[in-house]
């Protein structure tokens, strides 16, 4: 009896193992493909977390991470006492929030417009033209912006003055600068942002539109009741991702479009980290700011996901 039972379990175990190996054998390529991204995350995303301890140490360049002394939360106290930290934090939130209002809807509107275009050829050409700005580096965009919007030397102000208007300080007065900053962002990213929405739209069943046509729905009605609902999950996902990034901000755009005259608005966490970390070599303080950003970012993304799940039923986690 016992013998029989043990043979049975043995056989069962063997069978399961066998099943697993054949499963693995059959799909090993998928695992092999998966291993590369996993490796990437281990090496480039998890590995560097080792360096987070710099935030709790009096980091000395020449002693290395292990040789430096632990200082507890002293660096955090120092950062939270810095006036610049709060200004840059406020600016980061402000620029990101305004960006969300101005730049987030732009690709949605653009994608719907592109979707409505009948001529395939015209559609392709416009898409290409809209994508181009995405591939131009911020350094070059910065150069173009300065040439166009300078107060005394810019083309736009040259035209304005030629027509007898006052020059507008697009780049040197903080509120005008904000508008320049936001719309440069729209120009650069809106076209590229349409890709995800257009991809979502290809999955819409054409019969819905035909049925709506039969019912005599106008174009706007169709957009409102068919197009928009079908890209709603995409919109929600992107919104959550954007909210999660509220506290982190790219370096190039504020650094290049910004200047000393509008420092009050253009100084953000990323430029702050660059200044104290790489320029003044205060690595401990820079790491503290980086860690702070990561923690707040995590809270934001979890929070917005929770709210989204509660209200719309869609989420990303």
């Amino acid at each position: 009896m016992t013998k029989a039972k043990s043979t049975l379990t043995q056989m069962n175990g063997y069978g399961e193992l066998n099943k697993r190996t054949t499963y693995f054998k059959r799909y090993w390529q998928l695992y092999a493909l998966l291993s590369l991204p996993i490796l990437y995350f281990l090496i480039f995303r998890y590995g560097p977390m080792y360096g987070v301890q710099i935030a709790f140490k009096d980091f000395n360049l020449f002693q290395g991470i292990n040789g430096s002394e632990w200082i507890g939360l002293e660096a955090f106290r120092e950062v939270f006492a810095m006036n610049d930290f709060y200004i840059t934090l406020r600016n980061t939130f402000m620029l990101n929030f305004l960006d969300l209002i101005v730049s987030f809807p732009a690709p949605i509107i653009l994608a719907i417009m592109l979707y409505e275009i009948r001529s395939a050829r015209f559609k392709r050409i416009s898409q290409t033209i809209l994508y181009i700005p995405h591939f131009i580096s911020w350094v070059i965009i910065g150069g173009i912006v300065y040439q166009l919007f300078g107060t005394q030397s810019g083309m736009i102000n040259g035209l304005l003055q030629g027509m007898g208007f006052e020059a507008i300080p697009f780049l040197t007065e903080k509120n005008s600068w904000l508008v320049t900053y936001l719309f440069t962002g729209v120009w650069q990213s809106a076209g590229w942002g349409t890709i995800l929405y257009l991809a979502a739209l290809t999955g819409v069943n054409k019969e819905l539109f035909e049925a709506a046509d039969v019912d005599g729905a106008s174009r706007l009605r169709k957009i409102w009741h068919i197009t928009l609902p079908s890209i709603k999950p995409t919109i929600v996902t992107l919104l959550i991702l954007n909210l999660g990034r509220m506290v982190s901000i790219g370096f190039d755009r504020p650094y290049i479009i910004g200047n000393t005259a509008v420092r009050e608005y253009s100084d953000v966490l990323s430029t702050f980290v660059y200044r104290i970390g790489l320029e003044s070599g205060q690595y401990t303080l820079a790491t503290v700011v980086g860690l702070f950003q990561a923690v707040v970012g995590l809270i934001f993304i979890l929070g917005s996901n929770y709210i989204s799940k509660k209200t719309t039923g869609d989420g990303i986690l």
């Binding site: 360049l61 020449f62 006036n83 003044s280």
Partner: protein, 531 residues
Amino acid sequence: MTGNMRRGVMKKAAGAVLTALMGVSLLSGCGSGSNEGAASDGSGDGKRVTLKVEVFDRGNSPSPHTITNNWLTQYVQKEFGDPNNIDVEFVPVQRSEETTKLNVLMASASDVPDIVFVYDSSVFYRYAQQGGLTDVGELINEHGPNLKEYLGEETLKFGQLEGQQFAIPGKRAITARYNSYIRQDWLDKLNMPAPTTTDELYETLKAFKEKDPGGLGSKNIPMGLALAPSGYEPLIYSFIKPIQGDLTYSQRYELPLHEGFKEAMQFMNKLYNEGLVSQDFSLDEEEEQLAKDFQNGNVGFITEDVGQILYADGVLDNLKKNLPDSEVAAIDTLTNPNADNKYTKSRYGSNGMYIMIPKSSKRSVEAVKYLDWMASGDNLLTMSTGVEGENYVMEDGIPVVKEDAAQEIKDRVYNGGDMAILANGKVIGDQETNEEAWTVGFPKQNQELMRQSIAVANTDTIGPIVFDRPIEAEAKYGTALNDKLKVIIVQSTMAKPDQFEAVYEREMKDFMNIGGAELQKELEQALQEQG
């Protein structure tokens, strides 16, 4: 995906190939990396050692030269390396990312060159404080007699902290720094004499604006200004009261701690609001727009680094090309009400950059030997100027560059200034000789103006106070304060006149809060200790 998988052997095979390819490319990536590592370890053949030396890369190497293999590196290897059984390897660092890259290099004990350098004294102090530098005092005594003689005690002092020689300062050939240029043809047209005081300058600028002698309309810029030291420092130095006679605090961000700084800001505010200076100056940190405006003939007056506009095919030559009737004169006009109305202006200290040997370097002896070799014989001259008879000829003890030398010959020393790290500019002999040597390097037609410029720049100069201990607040707050200085200048200058007071007070309060107050306290204490 599963649908694809079912489509049979072909797809499977393709998948396997793809996977294999990705794996291989990943491996080959690692492979080439480790190969490079092996190569840079150098030829480990017995006693021959490798000395690694930093060099600035400006991305301007003419073919067939490269930054790590050119006529000068070969010269160093042949004249210094081979006789001493040393392989000299040059480690390029991009000029514009000098400090950032150096911070990274210093953090890695294995990759850091044996000789590194930096202009920024606070970076030098920080490295010294953190214990990252070799004390080279004894090494110089033992292996650097020529070096010691060349630099002299006065220059060596710049590299000493509390009695230890943590850096070998380069020597600066010329301490002249700033002067001013005015469009003489505009003055002539208005029948005005050249201004000789700050007040007269203001009147002249107003006349330039109102009477528009260039006939430029809205393009007219009476005084060209950029957010660059050569733009605002001469203005500020013409208002501040120096700390000790003709000496004052050395760092730019220490200017706001001087009496008279506010008056300087007030003056800039007046100039800006009356439309007398470039309206976009705050965007122009590289002086690109300023150079453009000046050579297009739109600018009446500027302050500049000595000689900056006089180089061959430079700003002045371009102006003459655009407007053949234009004429530019060097003048001294900014008088200081807080220093007996003298023409006070900044001068450089007699040191160049801080040359340092990291503590982790195992080749400190060879490093000092290399610098000693550079300071001996004609080596420095050869490294900065080339070969006598081919690149230059000696006239009255001054090396005159041969303009008609073949391009190939000229290209030998294309980065001579960056390789001859012991000298900033051409160090031939005393200051006057150096100035003359510098002048004859300019195009013939600009040499007279160059002589006048140097004379102006050497009048009533204020030099830096050198402390024998690091000012800790400089290392700690220097970068932030430097940044704040620019904000103070821009905000105070661009404020509406009735808001000037409030804006200035607000920014200055901020400046004091983020370290300015601590810095002031420490500087005053250091002054007292020095007596």
